[in-house]
Subunit: 344 residues, 2 copies
Amino acid sequence: MPELRKDPIIGRWVIIATERAKRPDQFAAGVEKEELASGEKCPFCQGNESMTPPEICALRKAGTKPNTPGWDVRVIPYKFPLLHVEGDLNRRAHGMYDLMDAIGAHEIVVETPDHLTEGAPPASQLSKVFGVIIDRIKDLEKDPRIKYVLLVKNYGRAAGGGHIKHQRIQLVGTPVNLKRVKEELAGAKQYYNYKERCVFCDIIKQEIAVGKRVVMESKYFIAIMPFASRFPFETWIMPKEHSCDFYKTSKEIASDLGGIYGGLFAKLKRVIGDFPYNTVLHTAPFRRQMNKRGYWETIENDYHWHLEVLPILTRVAGFEWGSGFYINPLPPQDAYKSVREAKA
Amino acid sequence: MPELRKDPIIGRWVIIATERAKRPDQFAAGVEKEELASGEKCPFCQGNESMTPPEICALRKAGTKPNTPGWDVRVIPYKFPLLHVEGDLNRRAHGMYDLMDAIGAHEIVVETPDHLTEGAPPASQLSKVFGVIIDRIKDLEKDPRIKYVLLVKNYGRAAGGGHIKHQRIQLVGTPVNLKRVKEELAGAKQYYNYKERCVFCDIIKQEIAVGKRVVMESKYFIAIMPFASRFPFETWIMPKEHSCDFYKTSKEIASDLGGIYGGLFAKLKRVIGDFPYNTVLHTAPFRRQMNKRGYWETIENDYHWHLEVLPILTRVAGFEWGSGFYINPLPPQDAYKSVREAKA
């Protein structure tokens, strides 16, 4: 069973993923495959459904059976999950240290039946994908052991996507709140206490007024390159209307999200080609009414969900590990110019 | 002038390194050089001193002149520094955002005159290196604009070391305290408030008692693979006697640090070959008596400097960016076994 171990100094959790373990001598660097070998089958392609664990759900043509072709979007459990869905947390001590079993959920949302290998699927397809994801999060929210569902995408080798480029998103349901999200919640709360306004709403208003970092705008969303971008071409998509819970988004708004997300990738592809990237979605944690210390009391007002697109075109190194700061060689206002002008 | 920009939500600083900037269309992924091309000269090798800015100091044979051969350890300014040594911070607002000029220090400590390209220099050489570094930090501490000096090493492409593998360490003097260090200070203080003991001292005692993660021990130091290691083979070197300020270390102890650090790399090389890695050193910030809010008051008791060796054999991906947590596929007790038994 994989373990969640807590760093005793800063309280950060680490998943010791024993089921992905290699022997110590297998870590020496080797050449990594960038693509499927000839003759190697992609487990995420239509027709290869038997290569994956049985599907959790799928958006499919009427009359087609589970685990057969005929689907548009397909959700499956991870074959070697980081977090296991069966069992109890079994929180315990190991001397002065704290650990628990790695319980939670780990699912893959296959975004398209076809083996697309560039950028992101078309907007029309993505609109369906976000609809399916919202349904999955609503379902996972019912499991009282799960405190948070993180949406993650790894695309391309440099972004941890492995050698299969078939477009897919991971949903990771964790039994603890996330360090990065806690930092955002605390920062947003501090700003709200001082200003009585949501910091994200203020960013949106300022960026619209300045007009130097707004890459795209749709009916419900805005895509901006943040003032303090960590990475070249880093872009955040935020709902224009204040909202802290992504999973409460309506189907109409989810469809619009697919539109702007697909449009953004079409533009980025014009400028930087087929690039490795990570996407993460930050939303408010579930079950915040359970906390009696007042910590979450203003979360509906002060927090604002958003989707971060992080192109991996540079490397983090010792300075980033040691400081928690970042070095970005491309000012966001320069990245903005080239992307804003690119045709979608 | 490069800028330091503050993320308005979580307060993290980003260096917008305009002097390293490329045009937006130059970020498309290309093949990177792993080594110097034939005929390409290494600027850090003895004999090529004219390729670098004039040296700040060097440990050299009596009678040899600056910027000529005859040195053992050489310190030079960074050619394209992240932080500039000339000027004022000029802290200012940009609408709701905060920024300042990227002022500080950025130096390179060339660890050896020879173009060694595997692991780390021998222990005898490293003992001199750490002595020179301590002298440099003592000098930088005199500059009132510098709040912290971070020791960083990037070795190998995957660790951000570029294509020149000549052994070198960077010293980055920053005008703000570091996010990661603040987290450690806060965590260590919380532990101390509860236990009235240093968390690092407790870790050292527990690890010696358990004997499952102590890779090496010398007269003054211990090298352990942390219980919640983020990376396979992650190893921390800590002084056994409590100390919060690395730069107050005596020459005898600095020499012993070179010994255990060199010995650790000799062992790691036996198990994983010539591997990319980052090294960072975390110590207490300077000038803590300036803070009147009581935050630093117990720092001499509760914080403990340490050196983190981070082999880069896996990739961080969306889960790490989104959560602030890590996934480690090799339990530290397994990494420990193979390294502990390896001959130095």
